[in-house]
Amino acid sequence: MRTSKPCIAILMAMLCPALMFGGTISGKVTYTGTPVRQKPIDMSKEPSCAKQHATPVTTETVVTGTNNTLDNVVVYISAGGDDANAPAQAVTFTQKGCQYLPHVIALHTGQELQVVNADQTSHNIHPLAKVNREWNKSQPPGSPAIQDKFDQPEFISVKCNIHPWMHGWFVVLKTNHYSISKDGGFSLPNLPPGKYTVTAWHEDYGTQTQDVTITGNETKAIDFSFKAKAY
């Protein structure tokens, strides 16, 4: 009993710098070329959703920011990372105004997913999984959140068959070190020293990888540039 306290103190001293003050990989995701124009969505068949949007929302296959930045790119540690378990808190995926908010979610294998219907209309949630199990559930307005988990890493395309314009992604990863680009920016903090492979995935432009070595508490800047598809 007497030895346990110093042991904990030593453990904390060893672990804390790695966890709290580890290295960071951050940077920007940009595109070159001209991305395909996103189409306005006609929701007139679903008035309860159409009236939620003053101006028609567009498809979200390619979402860009200023200075050629690219959004909704999932940047994650694909090799070299720790084999951490799934976080206890659930990842929420909301259907509102007949849109998926957000368009892309990332979650750990085994992490709980919560699908919420905030609309006044029925949706069906249909993850078109190929490695994991494909399922398809109806969720009328007011029903409780649908909860599920995915066991295998996979980029799962999700759709609502009732509202064919609704399309999103469940990105199931074997790591907690991921970041979904916003205004092109991403950041992967709390990385212990080591050699990492960083992968950037975009639903239309594919994947890119870079190898990065982290020593100590440094911040390494890396950028990804995707070539826009012409169609």
């Binding site: 068949k45 069906n124 249909h126 399922w135 398809n136 559930k137 109806s138 009328p140 029903s143």
Partner: protein
């Protein structure tokens, strides 16, 4: 000139043969992208009642009767597949339409066994009632060799279907209210003709266009993809039809409410003689508007209807279960 032409011709052939030869040699160094040699398959079994099926026994029947559409590799790419709509099932995905199990789970052996005998209406899958039960059981076992899911996962638990309450005009009326509330009409149409606002946009999980079921189309011999009895209809919307836009309603319909929906769906089959249509006719041919308080139906209406709230929640867990 003729000779020169001939020389040119032969040298063209020669260079073509050489180039082909080089490509062949290079292909050996190239990354492995071609079709893989068949892996040794693990023997699978099936159990339907007291019949045990073995994949080894199903192989010759599969190659003789099934491979033409479903393919030697079970991937739905048999030589007839290009001509078919809907496409033959791809057994390597282990996603099946007709199940007694919840969405996302494997069907039971019995589900597959029944599907083979029943065939799939509105598709090219015929009724295979010429097979013996042993042949069908062997085929079920053989189909299971195509996906590793059958080794890693157990089939889902079969849903529990409570005994059917009597058909009444109240039951039909409540079913109609559910049909509206759950927005079945979005695809199937207000009259169940398969012409709802979303119908034209539907695709299956392989991105092939697919039609919602037209209830009004068939007569007395009309069947659903996954059966023709009232229990089959119950099963279809509770489990969902995996691989298609039809979702599972297991979490959103209570067991006895589900029977009310079944009774209403039967009335959409306007050209089919049924007890539901008889009850509707006796009530004057029009479905009365559903009044909410009827939800707490008296226990005397049916002995199968749970009387006390306690047993209702129990029943809910059993039928709509997770």
């Amino acid at each position: 000139m003729d000779n020169l032409k001939r020389v040119h011709f032969f040298s063209a052939i020669l260079s073509f043969v050489l180039a082909a030869g080089f490509t062949a040699v290079r292909a050996q160094d190239a990354p492995d992208v071609g079709p893989h040699p068949p892996q040794p398959v693990k023997a699978m079994e099936s159990h339907i009642g007291n019949i045990a099926g073995h994949s080894a026994g199903g192989k010759s029947d599969y190659r003789r009767y099934c491979a033409g559409c479903h393919g030697d590799l079970g991937d739905g790419n048999g030589e007839n597949a290009v001509w078919l709509d809907p496409k033959p099932r791809n057994f390597t995905l282990a996603t099946f339409k007709c199940r007694s199990t919840l969405t996302g789970t494997l069907p039971t052996d019995e589900d597959l066994f029944n599907t083979i005998a029943r065939g799939l209406t509105n598709s090219n899958m015929p009724i295979w009632n010429t097979f013996t039960k042993q042949q069908r059981a062997d085929l079920v076992a053989y189909i299971k060799t195509f996906s590793p899911r059958w080794e890693k996962e157990k089939p889902g638990d079969a849903i529990k279907i409570p005994a059917e309450p009597p058909v009444t005009i109240e039951s039909i009326s409540h079913g109609k209210a559910l049909f509206t509330k759950l927005e079945c009409w979005k695809c199937h149409g207000p009259q169940g003709k398969g012409d709802g606002p979303s119908a034209a946009t539907l695709t299956d999980s392989q991105d092939n266009p697919i039609r919602p079921y037209n209830f009004a189309g068939g007569g007395d011999d009309s069947r659903f993809k996954c059966g023709s009895t009232n229990s089959d209809i119950y099963k279809i919307f509770i489990t969902g039809v995996d691989g298609t836009p039809m979702p599972s309603f297991a979490d959103v319909i209570q067991p006895n409410d589900a029977w009310d929906l079944v009774h209403f769906l039967r009335t959409l089959q306007v050209k089919r003689h049924s007890k539901e249509n008889d009850v509707l006719k006796a009530a004057g041919g029009a479905i009365p508007a559903y009044v909410e308080k009827q939800a707490a139906a008296p226990a005397s209406q049916s002995e199968n209807r749970p009387a006390a709230p306690a047993s209702q929640s129990e029943n809910r867990a059993a039928g709509g279960g997770n």
